[in-house]
Symmetry: C2
Amino acid sequence: MIHAEIEIEIRQVVQDKRRVLTNEADLASYSYDASFGVFPPDVVVQPTSTNEVVGIVKVANKHKTPIYPRGKGTSLSGGPLPVHGGIVLDFSKWTDTLVIEPDDLVAIVSPGVITADINKMASEYGLMYPPDPSSSHVSTIGGNLAENAGGPRGLKYGVTKDYVLGLEVVTADGEVIQTGGRTVKNVTGYDLTKLMVGSEGTLGIITKAILQLIPKPQSTGTLMVLFDDLVIAGKAISSILTGGILPSKLEIMDQASVIAVEQFEPSGLPTDIEALLLIELDGHPAAIEAEAQRVKEICLEIGAREVKIAETKEEEAELWKARKLVSPAIVRKKPTKISEDATVPRSRIPDMFQRLKEIREKYTIDLVVFGHAGDGNLHPNIIADKRDIEEMKRVEKAVEEIFQAAVEMGGTLSGEHGIGTMKAPFMEMELGAAGLSMMKRMKQAWDPHNLLNPGKIFPEPGQRFVLTDE
Amino acid sequence: MIHAEIEIEIRQVVQDKRRVLTNEADLASYSYDASFGVFPPDVVVQPTSTNEVVGIVKVANKHKTPIYPRGKGTSLSGGPLPVHGGIVLDFSKWTDTLVIEPDDLVAIVSPGVITADINKMASEYGLMYPPDPSSSHVSTIGGNLAENAGGPRGLKYGVTKDYVLGLEVVTADGEVIQTGGRTVKNVTGYDLTKLMVGSEGTLGIITKAILQLIPKPQSTGTLMVLFDDLVIAGKAISSILTGGILPSKLEIMDQASVIAVEQFEPSGLPTDIEALLLIELDGHPAAIEAEAQRVKEICLEIGAREVKIAETKEEEAELWKARKLVSPAIVRKKPTKISEDATVPRSRIPDMFQRLKEIREKYTIDLVVFGHAGDGNLHPNIIADKRDIEEMKRVEKAVEEIFQAAVEMGGTLSGEHGIGTMKAPFMEMELGAAGLSMMKRMKQAWDPHNLLNPGKIFPEPGQRFVLTDE
């Protein structure tokens, strides 16, 4: 229950009644995201201006009430969950700014804009906004900024952070600061822009972003490569990348993914292969044609079973269909999907597949692996039923072991989903006590009362990893 | 003079006598860099291991003595100047690690490695380290990391920061932390890696870096385009970039630069043009050929006087010669060169040229403009004689006005040279009081005694802009 005084003050800031939600049914729909756990907030506010955000932060500050920014709630790591109750700031109504300025190669956006709409509009100017998380058609740019979203194009084009030039941020004190600007080169003081991106709403609230656009590649080409041996597939990836070719996407599916897809919607993929690579090249058509032939040669020399090159846009779509079907195929088996994003150095991909195989057997879990092999960002997905507590306990142990394996191999807990509530207990394992303490000092310096998205990134006392909604 | 006790403790940490310098002649050679001002340190230490750095930081901490990291002293902003005396850490002897790991597309480097050597070694593996500051053959990677160095390839490939995946850092307390790792995707907590890069040695001391490499483009192509009108040149830049073409370099020279070069070493360039663009394309040879033709068409349609496409490597080198001669040509006129790097949004390049012309006339200074037009990073260079105090006062005012113009146009004080001592007085003009205060809080949280490179980035009380050595 929200304190009456807080509600009154919030309603003074946001005078449109429809944008301040306090009834139980509304609050319930803000109590979860695409991860685990149910935490109803005390009030939901839907700001549509920086001034409103400033006003609400000042109310939160006065009453020392936590405040949680939220986009469309697609987070896989618990980013927007109001774990300590308080105020949820729902940015999904704030979509009024989406401006492309082609001469500066930038887009100016407000936080509630749907990510895919940015690239769509940029495209009309012959430009591209490269980050393409698989949620881009439903997630907001605000959420993408908070979590530093990635996607398949990360291999060639990097992640959200690489395309953020400037931000408007409301601090925990309710001050408005501008970070960066609209130039690629800017070394005026500390890079607060890149610090904010991926800080999961714990350091400030992003109210505007200036995003960098690039010229849109003229064309794309797609190859599918089948391998009898996973280690050989790993070697093929290295050979392509050190052979002067940087694909725009380089995705992998393991045997279990291929089998799942073939059971779901048969398309004639051989189910006895150990790995399937899907490779997209982009750029000038002449270069793509030559590079596709070179990729084919490299893969066949190394020992691929078969290489298919799409000749038409239809064939291209057909080849990508297998990858697109993985998620729907696996969720049909059991209702609960735990999608991890532990990332390893590229050279360790074959080792990681081996460890994942051992983990699957050790805990008798349903595990398929696919993901962005080109940048080492695998997605081990575990399929389970969260009503089966015993199974979920095994899954929890398996996930812990996946994290350990990634960190041991010089990788990271999270490549693109964020830490949130889910992975906070493992932070020290990756960063060490000193590394984590330097992050805490920063949080302390900027948000001494821990009002901004508390319970995220930093483990709370005694916090452990749980995959149930309790 | 160094306190005897500090010297004894330092010599316990670094037992090799040749790497602890205290005589006056040695100290004098560490008292300046490529900017302005002379500040002798009390002692110079040349560490060659993380343990030695930890030891020295602990001594500094115990005695509350400032400590200044330094590479080869090529800074144009005063980055390594020991403005408050104390300990200079000269990293230029620490060159033992330069390892390319091609399967992970990374280079592992120690801080004293010369930047150009990284790309040279990567090249042997078919890989590229893109950042190419013009000092790369003399500057160290440690200095490049501290200042977030840029260069002509920034347009297509970004700056130093975009290629740093992980760092080893010694904190102000003498703790060693590892930031990031060796994967492109990493969202595990705050991005301390990108925060450290460009923080000018004020937040920690970088003792190792993991740098990202990319496949080396197969080929390059070069065009020179002559314009009667500067505004038309600006429009041509926009049209190229929104036409689906991203050159690897897009450099501009104004009329004064062309005249200076022709006076220095005549090569038949017309001195009545208002602007000259040099454009490098890289990638697959077939794509380069097609793109070069397209660039030519775009420029001629817009109104360029002439477009030359290099047909051979020799012709390519010939076209770039004019750009390479600008610096030697202008320093022949007068001994003191003040090289600025104020950066504006691309669309404001013509306006910036206009303002620079006005500033040149208003203060009767010798000003030429060239630089990285593709990313808005111009280099207004003022030629003067620092013994002429009256002239230098006019130059100081002109530079102040250049900074104001850049900030008014939505640009930044510094695109790639850093703030250092030189631009600290202007920080609030760009960032506002609140923005600057958030940066100070961070400095305070990590280095409460202000031991790490004090006097940089943040203006000191009453500090004003001076271009003389007094």
